[in-house]
Amino acid sequence: MKKKITICLIIFAISSFFFIDGKNDQVHGFSNQVIQHGATGDDVIELQARLQYLGFYNGDIDGVFGWGTYWALRNFQYEFGMEIDGLAGQAVKQKLEDASEFDKAYVHEQIQQGKKFTHYGGVDKEKQTEPSPTKQKEGDGGQQGSNQQQENQQAQPENNQPQATEEDLEPTAVNIPQGFSQNDIQIMANAVYGEARGEPYEGQVAVASVILNRVESSTFPNTVSGVIFEPRAFTAVSDGQIWLTPNERARNAVLDAINGWDPTGEALYYFNPDTATSGWIWSRPQIKRIGKHVFCM
């Protein structure tokens, strides 16, 4: 197997020298990382674009290595006789680079302008994007020409580094834990910030966990919003503090809680012993105290 790969590599190295003739920066498009499922960023954009160029990937080029990308990569590995592991390591990246084109300038410009676009090989790029409202895209003519021609056309923007090719482009999508949406996270971050912005980080995770434990529990509403907006459930909701803009920390705390961190030990209630008005809440079996809050069943 290893031998085979080496031979392949040598052949491809030779052929790529033959074709590309010294344009080695092309080969170094990817960074050195092994790209795996769940990753986000520039490398993923390139991976998706290249897989799409070859017709393996039909989803959006959004910079998030999701399932679509994963299957596309595995199919690519299968078709090219490589080990099928769904990881984009050096050999895979090399092979991709040899087999496909990546018009970085074009892709990045599309992403920056927020357009819907595709990056299939052998199709006119004009047809793969929405028409630009201001001006038509220039300098990106026919794709139908031979590989050699494309190389030449592409070489220009790559060397000139036009604005559209700034490094570290943000992906246009984000990973979200299964079963939640960005809006759920936002609304929880609001609640956590309103309820516990003065608390230590673990205290914020704890409040978020209580919300999630209530969603899980069959004695509370079954949705995040149902739990948060239940009358009298959270003081921050009653007095409007929930509508303060949460900071990054609150959002991270929510994300941690959703990903499974629960410092409360499955608590369903919490209260501040200095201000608690309800006598009943004291009768709940207490689990622990984090920051100012006592968490209980």
């Binding site: 769940g38 834990p177 149902g226 990903n259």
Partner: protein
């Protein structure tokens, strides 16, 4: 002249203010009435649904034919869920109303479990009929008590907004009729909850194996502290606050926390056995230097040095900005044990582990007899929806709806752009679960 114009101006101002004030007052009243009406609707819906529920349970008891029983139980399930929803809309959270909610939950569980069962093959057992009878009794009592409250509310024009106020100014709590009424309802149910309802039958506790791994040996606080320091990567100098959990905790823990410069850490260690349950280190994570793949390897190395099984399979990996979060499950002879999952978080700036959760692992881990498969992989594959393009498969132990562990074939397949995970029972070929795996969400 000046004086007159001043008087005129002032009077206009006074009139203006009073008109404005009146309008504000009207608006406020309108909103109060709106809110009140919402509460009233939920309350009356609740009593109505409980009336209906009681009747339905009664007629279920009288029923004999199996064809009718299933839809009837499904209807009960729907009613309990609606009643539950109504409770959730009332400002009762800080009121002791949880026993009634528990009743609703038990009723819902019971009806769900029996409604989805093939009652031809497996009719209601005597125990189940008995349980249903006692549920009927409880629902009757709740219905009665709630009707009393409803009657008072209607006759005396009681308002839920007053409950709201009474709860805010806690001292008057005792005087509020509605609150009293609900407390009575609660007391009525309380009598039942222990004795009459056979809890194991109702499936309230979704079957916890209960931390079998921990053993009986207690570790001292000092030992725990030592372990905390090493896991939190802090030296003897740094102060660490340790506390024990109270009576409400389902497993006794030592919780340690520390704060130094920009970093805070929090850790839970079980008092029995001294296993780490959760670890959380919070600090600013700088620019990304490590790939998600390296991070995953770090995570694996890290876990192998702890008290967990070393053979781990990766179920999920996700990058959130500059941290990677992974979920691992243990693997025995190529069987993935989903209930024993461990989550772990790695910073992508230097590859350091920022936290992990081993709660599921510690709670569910036990020596397992993994049964032989009765179906071959091909036979199981035939049970999967043929429209699905199967890409990958493995064997796994998962928990089904009832919390029982079953051995399944897991298929990962695609249908158009979506990826699904299908669990096929390896002994009888039934579809245990189908999950649609999430896609990345577009940024808005």
């Amino acid at each position: 002249m000046f004086r007159w114009s001043l008087i005129t101006l002032l009077s206009i101002a006074v009139i203006g203010v009073s008109v404005w004030g009146y309008q504000e007052h009207q608006e406020k009243n309108a909103i109060l009435i709106q809110a009140e009406n919402n509460y009233q609707r939920s309350f009356h819906d609740l009593t109505y649904n409980l009336d209906l529920l009681h009747d339905k349970i009664g007629s279920t008891l009288a029923m004999n034919t199996r064809e009718q029983l299933s839809p009837q139980l499904a209807e009960i399930w729907r009613l309990t869920s609606m009643a539950h929803n109504d409770v959730g809309q009332l400002p009762l959270t800080l009121l002791p109303f949880n026993k009634t909610e528990e009743f609703l939950q038990q009723m819902g569980d019971f009806s769900y479990r029996t409604a989805i069962r093939d009652l031809d093959k497996e009719p209601l057992s005597d125990d189940e009929l008995e349980a249903l009878e006692s549920l009927y009794e409880v629902s009757g009592d709740i219905e009665q008590e709630l009707r009393k409250v409803q009657n008072m509310v209607l006759n005396d024009n009681l308002r839920w907004m007053d409950v709201q106020l009474a709860l805010v100014n806690n001292d008057e709590q005792a005087d509020n009729t509605i609150i009293d009424g609900f407390e009575t309802v609660e007391k009525t149910v309380e009598g039942y909850s222990e004795g009459k309802l056979n809890a194991s039958m109702m499936g309230t506790s979704s079957k916890k194996d209960g931390f079998a791994i921990l053993g009986d040996e207690k570790v001292s606080e000092e030992e725990a502290k030592k372990k905390m320091r090493s896991l939190l990567r802090i030296d003897e100098e740094t102060d660490i606050t340790v506390a024990s959990t109270g009576e409400g905790a389902n497993v006794p823990l030592y919780s340690g926390s520390y704060k130094a410069d920009d970093t805070t850490g929090y850790i839970d260690i079980t008092q029995n056995g001294g296993y780490p349950l959760t670890l959380m280190i919070n600090r600013e994570v700088e620019e990304r230097n490590k790939s998600l793949h390296e991070a995953m390897q770090n995570a694996k190395d890290y876990l192998s040095k702890l008290d967990f099984t070393t053979d781990l399979a990766l179920v999920e990996s996700n990058q959130y900005d500059n941290v990677g979060v992974f979920q691992f499950v243990p693997q025995y002879d190529d069987v993935w044990i989903y209930p024993d999952a461990i989550q772990i978080k790695v910073a992508l700036d230097n590859g350091e582990v920022l936290g992990f959760v081993a709660k599921d692992y510690l709670e569910n881990y036990h020596e397992r007899e993994i049964p032989e498969v009765k179906l071959s992989e091909e036979e199981a594959r035939d049970k999967v929806n043929p429209n699905l393009k199967i890409q990958e498969h493995h064997l796994a132990v998962i928990e089904d709806d009832m919390g029982e562990e079953v051995l399944t074939y897991v298929y990962l397949g695609t249908l158009n752009q979506d990826t699904y995970k299908i669990f096929i029972n390896a002994s009888d070929g039934s579809e245990v679960r189908v999950d649609k795996l999430k896609q990345a969400e577009m940024k808005y």
